[in-house]
């Protein structure tokens, strides 16, 4: 597998830290409970249940003079050490949220996988498309490779990395299921990370399934020996695994909360429908934000209210404080927009035709090929809204203006 970029692709400084290296916050499940295995008098308690047993509320968990009782339903997940000045160093019983036993996903047939995917309404976070439809389209194409994309090739987002770190093995199983459903033998997880993080994640995944991309370059494309490769989101893989193993509906996402108005940038695991105000109150705002952005800073959509919910397809939300907007100059004709365009368009030429109302000249420049990656607008040294003009060009393409009746335009 090889990762390719346009010849003069956009290289940018990463803004992922500190969110990328912090553990994922959980908004969606009961947090882990710790029950000390030493009582107030210093007498030890011995657990009565086995590791991974599910316990009911009120169940006796330990023996001893003052035994422990389970406060809620949960799973005996681990014995953990608490190190504190007051408690000294004592062991504690960690009670995690209840998890049903997974079904055996390795024996499922492709049809069963697609059926489970459909029933769970799994949405691919890369493009917001329905995963079942996408897998059907991939099965019909000549793709030779399926890639779970955890690259996060925009400056702020690190949700793919956080998902892999939290649920690496499940994501790999989900990718295996997706590859089976699409009829592809070769599948890999693609990741952009520092060496330490990469090694940590590599240890949790099946051998040889993780590929590392070392560049901060936008956008990226994967291929195998010149043939195109199909990509699915790593969160969609996780959702597919949970759909097949537990019959669970796709209801959760990992979302990066960042931006220069956020005090603790972090990855947050939350249910769909969580309003922006909730995640920003969890991560804290240092400043009155000027705008909220649904999506990353290259392609996101600015909104001015935090009442909006986070819906499938969003993996990053930003709160940006007011900054002096850069001066917009006239096009200096440097040609950088054309150099970074991975669709090989001429954004400056399309923008000029749109500004001069020469819409009949647009079809030969094929603005409809634009996939909205916004690299041209990021790279523009004159800070011109090139991408917006290209988008306008798609709508206006071929339109003929008759006479002087152009009242819509200034």
């Amino acid at each position: 597998m090889s990762v390719t970029y346009p010849q003069y692709a956009l290289s940018f400084p990463s803004e992922k830290e500190p969110a990328a290296s912090l553990p994922t916050l959980e908004l969606c499940r009961m947090p882990k409970l710790l029950l000390p295995l030493t009582d107030e008098n210093g007498q030890p308690r011995t657990p009565l249940c086995e590791l991974y047993d599910t316990v009911a509320p009120g169940q006796t968990l330990t023996d001893g003079a003052r035994p422990l009782y389970a406060p809620v339903t949960g799973v005996f997940a681990a014995v953990q050490t608490i190190d504190d000045v007051e408690y000294m160093e004592i062991d504690a019983l960690a009670l995690a949220g209840e998890e049903p036993a997974p079904a055996n996903v390795f024996t499922l047939s492709p049809d069963e996988i697609v059926a489970a995917c459909k029933a769970a309404h799994v949405v691919d976070e890369l493009d917001g498309a329905d995963l079942a439809d996408k897998l059907a389209a991939i099965a019909e194409s000549d793709a030779a490779l399926l890639v779970a994309d955890a690259v996060d090739d925009q400056p702020f987002g690190s949700a793919g990395l956080a998902t892999l770190r939290q649920f690496g093995a499940f994501c790999a199983d989900g990718l295996m299921l997706a590859a089976k459903a699409a009829g592809i033998d070769d599948y890999h997880v693609l990741l952009r990370a520092e060496t330490d993080t990469y090694k940590e994640i590599e240890a949790t995944l099946p051998k040889g399934r993780l590929v590392r991309d070392r560049h901060d370059i936008y956008p990226h494309k994967v291929s195998k020996k010149g043939k195109p490769a199909a990509t699915v989101g790593v969160q969609a893989c996780l959702a597919l695994y949970r759909a097949c193993a537990f019959g669970e509906h796709h209801g959760f996402a990992t979302v990066t909360v960042a931006g220069n108005a956020v005090s603790l940038p972090a990855n947050v695991r939350l249910p769909f429908g969580t309003p922006l105000s909730e995640v920003f109150s969890l991560c804290g705002l240092v400043d009155e934000p000027d705008k909220y952005v649904l999506g990353d800073s290259f392609t996101g959509k600015a909104v001015d209210t935090d009442a909006l919910p986070i819906l499938p397809g969003v993996t990053c939300v930003l709160a940006l404080k007011k900054e002096k907007s850069p001066a917009v100059h006239a096009c200096i004709g440097c040609g950088r927009c054309a150099a970074v365009c991975h669709k090989h368009l001429l954004p400056y030429e399309i923008a000029r035709r749109v500004e001069n109302l020469q819409f009949t000249k647009l079809p030969s420049l094929s603005p409809a090929d634009c996939d909205g990656c916004n690299a041209c607008a990021v790279v523009c040294p004159a800070n011109r809204p090139v991408a917006d003009l290209v988008k306008q060009g798609i709508e206006e393409s071929g339109r003929v203006l008759i006479g002087w009746g152009v009242h819509d335009y200034e």
């Binding site: 800073s297 001015d304 001066a327 006239a330 916004n374």
Partner: protein, 327 residues
């Protein structure tokens, strides 16, 4: 929600000001080397030229009731380039007039920076070349001491390598003198090795397109090898003398790479560079003056959009094939 700008919300560090700053930085070694070779009057010529360029930019903006932004740095670059193409002993009104013509008549009437059809520095220089060729090509002799004075200094004048080639004689300079700038000539253009180092900086910073510079110089070298202007030099001597005389290398690096007036497409870059190179050599062979680069550049400026369109048409089949492969 009019205050909400659309995506993107982060911007590359390179902007118009940093591009101009790169250009000024790349030109500063040429200024320093000019001071070493020709004395401190170089600073006077450079300073007057830059200040007058900034002044005319402001004045033009005031007359047109349009705010002029000097921070984009394009006016300063124009002033600096103009001054570096003149001899160190030039009367000070010459760079002022060149900047006035370039900015006032060539740049601003078309809409200011970003909209100008012709390179203002080349246009200003072409203007003073036509009007005051006896000042513009009067290069001080190598041993002459140029006093630091506002008046026009009285110095001995010697022929530059380009002038010697024009009169049909072989140049009296050796190859290393040509490369390190121990020759008569304009302030900033004689030290070829310094200019090449500056070019490498610009290429690395992506402030200049290597294809433009290289194709222009290559075209000149081919013509120089095929048609030497003097009977008693070999073909490789001809290439060296032609490339290192006049301000061909300087122009190919700093004037040809003006992004506003040059084409955008890599293939168009090659065609445009070759066209400028061929026209420059034609001007040198058959023109009135010893150096014709700025005239060649202005001629090609007028049709640079045509090169772009031609390249776009030429690559249409390739685009089509690529598109079919991707779907």
């Amino acid at each position: 929600m009019s205050n909400l700008r659309n995506a993107p919300f982060s911007q590359n560090e390179a902007n118009v000001s940093t591009l101009s700053l790169d250009m000024l930085l790349a030109l500063s070694p040429a200024v320093a080397f000019g001071c070493v070779l020709f004395g401190w009057r170089v600073l006077l010529v450079v300073g007057i030229s830059i200040v007058s360029a900034l002044f005319f930019e402001l004045l033009g903006g005031w007359i047109a009731r349009r705010p002029s932004d000097l921070r984009d740095g394009t006016a300063a670059v124009t002033g600096l380039i103009v001054s570096l193409l003149l001899p160190a002993s030039v009367p000070l009104f010459v760079p002022v007039l060149a900047c006035a013509f370039g900015i006032f008549l060539v740049k601003l009437p078309f809409g200011g920076s970003g909209h100008n059809l012709f390179n203002p520095a080349a246009a200003g220089l072409a203007f003073v070349t036509e009007c005051f060729s006896h000042h513009v090509f009067a290069y001080p002799a190598r041993e002459a001491v140029i006093p630091f004075t506002l008046r026009t200094p009285e110095v001995n004048v010697a022929a530059s390598p380009a002038g010697l080639l024009k009169t049909g004689g072989s140049t009296a300079f050796s190859w290393y003198e040509l490369l390190i700038g121990q020759v008569t000539g304009p302030i900033g253009t004689v030290a070829i090795l310094v200019l090449v180092a500056c070019a490498v900086y610009l290429f690395v910073r992506r402030g200049a397109a290597p294809l433009l510079t290289v194709s222009c110089l290559a075209a000149c070298a081919v013509i120089a090898a095929l048609f030497p202007r003097s009977a008693d030099i070999t073909w490789y001597e001809s290439i060296l003398f032609e490339l290192c005389s006049g301000y061909l290398v300087f122009g190919a690096i700093f004037m040809l790479n003006d992004p506003v007036t040059s084409p955008r497409h890599p293939l168009a870059h090659v065609m445009y560079g070759v066209a400028v190179g061929v026209l420059t050599m034609l001007m040198r062979h058959f023109g009135q003056f010893e150096e014709g680069f700025c005239f060649a550049l202005l001629l090609c400026n007028a049709v640079s959009g045509v090169f772009d369109r031609f390249a776009w048409q030429l690559l249409r089949p390739r685009r089509q094939r690529r598109k079919e492969r991707e779907v």
